[in-house]
Structure formats: C-alpha cells, structure tokens
Symmetry: C2
Subunit: 479 residues, 2 copies
C-alpha cells in the first residue's frame, strides 16, 4: 500500500484525491471550484477526445465552434431551461472597460445560442439534418467542488442536431446513447446501465433524457454521459423552422448529448486501487513502460540500455509511436522508478535487468493484478499486445462483476431501505409513483432514480405505491 | 468571377467577408464581436491544430488545461501586463446567484494563472524545464471586429515554458518561432518574415517578442504568430523559484508563444481569388472531390458511379481516409456542383462523365490555376498526390513572389512615404530611432515596424534620424 495514498476503505473521498494527486492529474485552481488539468490528466482527456471524436465522425457528425458568451435573454426564451441553469451561471457585466447593456452568461451549455444560429441556417428540408458537435469549456458555478466530478469550469463535448421528423430525432438520441455506451465499455472499461431519466432528473428543456450510469467502487452511481430528446421545445423558442417537401413550414426536432472530463473521475473511481491510478490500456496515453536496470553503470550503458531501446522500437511499431516509453531516471532507485509509473497508472511495466538479459527474458508486471509474467525477448511484439488486451478485458469484467454483486432487486420499501443501508449499491425496483413519491424516497434515503431501464415491458407492482403498471427503475445514491 | 463575391480589386474587405460567407466558414454571433466557426471553417482549424500539435510534441511539449477565470489581482501583479490587457478584458462579477468578492477576468492570455501554478510545481532544478502548451479560447474585447482577424473571443494555443537559465529560455523562444515559421510555410503555404518586435509592439510584460509576419494580397502585413522571451518578469511577479544545483534559490526564466484562428484569415487573404476560397492541400481538410456526372440516370447508376467509387477508394488509400470525398448531389446541375466545391477551396476536382469513362481518363481541375489535366484512370493513385504537391508548391511560390515584388528598400523618409503611398507593401529600412520616432512615423503614414530582421549585422544609416548603427526593419500597414 502506497504511503502517500489514504486507503480506500478508510476514507474514500480522501483516497480519490490522493490518487489524483499522486498521479499529478489535476490541482485545484486559485479560483474556488475551478481546476487545473495537469499533463498526466490532460493526456487522458486527449485520448478520450480523439477516440470519441472518431466515433462521432463515423456516425456522420462534424465539429464547429459557438461563442462562450450568451446574452442573458437567450436563456430566458425557454422557461425550464432558464429555471434550471440560472442559479449556476457566471455572468459578465463589464467588458472593454464599460458596463454592458445586457449581461452575458458564460455558457453553462449551448442549446440557446446554437438554436439561434440554426434558425438562420435552416430554411428547407434539404438543410436537415444538421449534425454538429463542439468540444469546449463550460461554467456551472459549483458550491461543493470535487476534482473532475464537480468543478465550476469543465471541459466537454456537446452535440446538437436538428431533424425533419420526431422519429429521426429520437433515433439520433438513442444512437448517441449507444455511441457513449460502447465507448465507455470498450475504451474506458466502464460497464454502464443505459436508461431513461425520470421527469425530475431530466435536462431542463428536454422531453426525454437518456443516460449512462456507472457504479463506482464505493457503490455509488455516477452519471457518465447523457443524450437528450428536445422535441420541438428549443425549435419553438428559437424559431427553427423549415419548409417540408409539401412546402409547409414546420418546426424542426432537436437533440443534444454530452460527456465531460467527469469521465476521468469515473475511470479513477472504477479501476484504481490503494497504490494509485489504474488506467485501462485502451484509454491510457502510455500503455507500456520499459525500465532498464543495473547496479553497474557500464553494463547498463553497454548492454542493457541498447537492448531496452531495441525493445522500445519494436513495441512502438507494434503498438504505436507514443504508446511506449523508456524510463531513464537512473538517479532514482529501481523501486522508486517502478512506483513512479505504477502511481501514474501505466498498464504494463517491463523490467530488463541483469537476470532478464542473461535469460533473454523480460519481467512484465501487470498494473491491474500485480501479476508477474516472464516474456521471451523474441516474443515481445506478440505477447505485449495480448497482455494489454487481457488487462483491458479483466478491468471491464472486474467492474461488471462488482456492479452485479452490488445490485439488488426489491419489492417493497422496507426491502429497499434494508438493501440500501445494509449493502449499498444499485437497487432495482418497479416504480409507478409520482415525482412527489420520488422526492419522498430521496428525502428518506438520499437515493434517486438513476434511470428507468429501456426495453422493459414486464408489468409489475410498484414497490412504493403498490400501484400496477410501473417501469423497472434503478435507484442509487449518486455523485 | 463568382456573382456572390465582390471582386477583390473593388472592395478588399467585402471580398474577404464574401469568400468566408460563400465557403460557409464563419458567421458573426449574436454577441457583438464574437463569431461562430462553422464546420467548413472549423475543419481547417482542426487541421491546423493537429499538425501544429504534432510539431509541439516533437519538440518535447505536453498539453494541459488552466482555468478560464482569473482573479483580477493576478493581472495586477505584473505592471505592464495589466496595463496592456485590462482595457480589453471581459469581467465576471456575479456567479452562482451572488456578487463575487473579487471580480474574475475571462482570460485574455494565461501567463498570470500559469505563473501562479508553476510557482507551486517548481522547487528544484530537477523540475525544470516545464514545457506545457494549452489549446483554449480567450476573450479580448474588440471594438472593430473582423471575422477570424479580430474577434472578441478566439481560439488559440498558448505555450508556457519555464527554464533554469536565460540561454535555455531564449533558445526555446527561438525554437518555437522556427516551429511557427516552418509550419506556416510548409503547411499553410504562407511565406513569413521572422524578426523581433520593437519596444512599442512587444507583448505586455515580455523582454523580447519575436514574430512571423505575412503579406496579404492587399499588401498589408498580418502578424501570424508570436514567441515571447519573458525573462524573469513573470517569475518575479509570481515567485517561480527553484533551488539550483548549488542549492541556491533562483528565479526561473519563462517564455510564452501563441498562434490563433487568425491563421485562417491569413490563409483566406493569401491564397483566395474572386471565385472564392483556395486552400493549400496540406491544410485542406478535404484535398480531392470526385464528381460523377451523366445526364442518363441509369448510365450514372450502373457505370459511372461504380467507377467513381472505385477511384474514391483508391485515393483514400493513397491520401488518407478523410481526404477525399465523393459528390452525389445529383439534384444539382454539374456546373453548380463544381462551383459548390470550388467555393469551399477544395484543391483538386476530379470529374468523371461519359467522355472520360469512354477514354479511361479523368478530368482533373486545379483550384489554384483552373488548369485542366487529363489523368489516365490507371495512374490516379500516382498522379493525384503529385498534383497536390505541385499545387502546394505553387501556392507558396506565388505568395513569395508577390511579397518580393511588393517589398522595397528605402534610405530616406521621402522614399519611404513614396514607396508606401504609391506602391504599398513591405518597406525595408534601417532604423535607429526612438519609440517616439516610431510613433511619429505611424502618425504620418499609418505604417508600423512589423519587425527587425534577425541576423542582420550590417551597420547602416537610419533612414529617419540619419543616425548610425540602426537595425534593418520591415515597415508596413498592418491588420
């Protein structure tokens, strides 16, 4: 157990911060609630960005950039939207040395300003669909900040699409939910439950909100990405109208969907351990570190380092140029060098010392299991990619098993409370209550509906109201 | 000449805006001075970003992210910095429903907040150098906005480095200047003059500012990227100190360097013509468009389209997956389809119609020269990359020749004024005057010193003061 990290069992919140600090992923900024994403953390974001962006482009989306500052009056055009976001807004009142006539809101999200632009760009059905995404920063003032999970400024992407029909817009909403789900599972090794939010948890202004919910290792839920079906709410507010094939004017149907730097927090809280960060290979900016070691400086320079460099080059070819690094921190003791990379979550460490060179083998140490595997030098290009696949698969499986072991199905409020208090985790229960019932459950237990499961047509009795005809919901305490 | 574009000779400013509008690159946003970068324009920015980022990483830099909002007091810690930037700042005074105790400035640049963080991260000489870059948005309130060239919000990258010695920091400053110069010439086909700014044109807080200056087709200069040697000014203001190898405390030496979405304006004003946008192949998001044509629908579907798809696939292999597109806008007339891509600046258009199919050839039309080349279908994978190289080389050469033809060397103020008024362009002249002389020249002519040439050791007489010992400067009217 690393001495610079509080054990997870002892204080989960402190453990989380310690892991981030030890890996040098982020720091709090001088402005309350804001963060600095340090190079180790930002490299993870770059890896998320490039892989998510590729999936957006494969599904026909293009990127654009809309302005940071939004006239306050824009927010007011959609009643629920302004109600939801106003309390969190940062507001610019002075600019260029003068007081502004109208205050400008630093974007908390961009439906309004994008709606305004779409109304100019859309005239005919030929202009639809518009499939645009933007990567940017947003500001939502945060009273209880927490690195990556809740910060007053964060980085994200927000997709905004406009369609000619309700069906097409709904299809897009669910397509992007699936893009998130598959990305989270395949790249981040984050098993997620997808479903629909309850009325009270919807995006302000949406008709439906769909979500990916993950379970952290403290058994709490984390909302990892959402996709919103906005109906015609924003089209009506911003007058996005088009002439259909029958030459009639219609309001467009819009969607929006987003995922943020919060995903980095989800990775930390799903895979890391008491030694520090653990990164799944598919999202790790660096997948392998090669560490040449010898107490004898001349042996190191003449024999071991050249062989390590040879391995480095072969692995760069097999895995990609930036995916493998060579550790040359020879002023540090071997144990400290191992520890350095271990705390930064590098999935696989390859040690090459005197014993290994003599036997033409490498000592490979897996970050996920600490297992040691001896690899013949000849087989490095074949064995290392296989090991990385194995690590990726193991992390996903481990997280899925953990979630399953901590998910309980209940039929009464009594069972609900027992499961939640004695075991924690996800509680599956059929719910047919009102938003008021939902609030009452939250007040009594602090648990909320994370989502209603999709494709669930079983008719059961509501655990809370005992009414018939409810839908299967997942409840949990959440971040 | 395109009817939707004002001729360049008639009204250069309007021509510039028309080219951007016709290509759908950008729009003004609802907030005065801000812009929306539309997908066509943003794709150019993505191309710039990825290629510049690669060059930053090759020179040892990593990316990070620092906060958008900066306490006002931070700016005040460096006297010249606050004097230079305060008048342009946008200021947040309310957040989370409350008035803030200290107003927060939306970053106009990040030396201050980064200096604050570096002071925490740097203790020993082992922590140096720090070589960090960030890609982000900045706000500088603009009274006379102009798409891409001067907008109240723009996108850029800002590198911030800290070093143990003056020499190392100066080396870094000049290394990044060279990274910009080579990128601009090799990728953007933008020939630039590199040099040092005069005292009056320096970055607020810098000891020296180095710049890349390009000539637009209206003969005015555009500052395309700058690299600043900050000396110990920001280290002293933010207390960035380290223990050197002799265990003494020293202030670090810092640099910063930036290039922005302004580069897109430079591309437009260097290469485009009266038909619209012209993009150099190395920065063009799409390099080639394949256009199948036939008046006969069944011939089109059975013969021509399959062959066009075949060519598309071969070119994707030769050039990269996203670099080639197929035009299937069959509801439009062929001329309109050509025009559509021409106005978006695609470097090469390949037409495949009945005549071409019969002779197993493609009709290739260069965007830069409008020249038509017949390419044998067999040779497409070989000939198209060669043609693209040729277009790239031609655009750079054309811009360089234009600059050279419009650069004049003068020895007196009389000659200076004549050259500037009768011919325009860059005026080279030896200058040994004071900042007051510089201001007087600007008032009389509106021209400014764009830079002093580097490596110029010739001792000559100042054209203005007639003093000895001046340096060779380039003057011009500038954007």
């Amino acid at each position: 157990m690393a001495r610079n990290i509080t054990p997870r069992e002892k204080d989960y919140s402190q453990w989380y911060l310690d892991v981030i600090k030890a890996a040098e992923m982020a720091d709090y900024a001088p402005v309350r609630g804001c963060m600095v994403i340090r190079p180790t953390g930002y490299a993870v974001w770059e890896s998320i960005q490039s892989q998510l962006d590729e999936r957006f482009k494969e599904t026909g989306h293009v990127n654009a950039y809309f302005p940071l500052l939004i006239p306050n009056s824009f927010l007011e055009k959609e009643a629920k939207h302004v109600e939801g976001f106003s309390p969190e807004c940062a507001v610019v009142t002075y600019a260029g040395g003068e007081e502004l006539e109208e205050p400008l809101v630093v974007r908390p999200t961009s439906e309004t300003v994008i709606g305004h632009m779409y109304s100019k760009w859309v005239q005919s059905w030929r202009d639809l669909p518009i499939l645009i995404n933007q990567w940017c920063n947003v500001v939502r003032w945060e009273k209880r900040p927490r690195l990556f999970l809740r910060t007053s400024e964060f980085l994200w992407q927000e997709g905004h699409t406009a369609h000619a029909t309700r069906e097409e817009a709904m299809e897009e909403t669910l397509r992007m939910l699936e893009v998130y789900r598959s990305f989270m599972e395949e790249v981040l090794a984050l098993p997620v439950i997808v479903g629909e939010k309850s009325e009270g948890e919807r995006f302000p202004g949406a008709e439906n909100t769909y979500t990916c919910e993950a379970m952290m290792t403290d058994k709490r839920a984390l909302q990892a990405g959402t996709s919103h079906f906005l109906g015609q709410n924003f089209s009506r507010a911003f007058d996005i109208r088009f002439q259909n094939k029958e030459e009639e004017l219609e309001y467009a149907w819009t969607t929006s969907w987003g995922a943020s730097t919060r995903l980095i927090g989800a990775i930390v809280m799903t895979h890391s351990d008491n030694d520090g960060l653990v990164l799944p290979p598919n999202v790790a900016p660096v997948k392998v570190v090669v560490i040449p070691i010898s107490p004898d400086q001349s042996r190191l320079q003449d024999k071991i380092l050249p062989e390590a460099k040879n391995i480095l080059e072969r692995l760069k070819k097999a895995l990609g140029r930036d995916q493998v690094i060579l550790d040359t921190q020879f002023h540090m003791r071997p144990g400290d060098r191992f520890f350095y990379h271990l705390q930064r979550g590098i999935p696989l460490r390859l040690e090459l010392g005197e014993a290994e060179l003599a036997s033409s083998r490498l000592r490979a140490v897996r970050r996920d299991t600490t297992e040691v595997i001896n690899i013949s030098l000849d087989a490095v290009d074949r064995e290392v990619p296989k090991l990385l696949d194995d690590i990726q698969g193991n992390l996903l499986e481990r997280a899925r098993t953990f979630r399953e072991q901590n998910t309980y199905q209940v039929n009464s409020f009594q069972e609900f409370k027992e499961a939640l208090n004695e075991k924690g985790g996800f509680i599956k229960a059929c719910f047919a209550g009102t938003p008021e019932d939902e609030r009452a459950i939250k007040e009594a237990t602090t648990a909320t509906i994370r989502c209603f499961l999709l494709d669930d047509s079983t008719e059961r009795t509501c655990f809370y109201t005992k009414k018939q005809g409810g839908r299967m919901a997942v409840f949990a305490k959440a971040y």
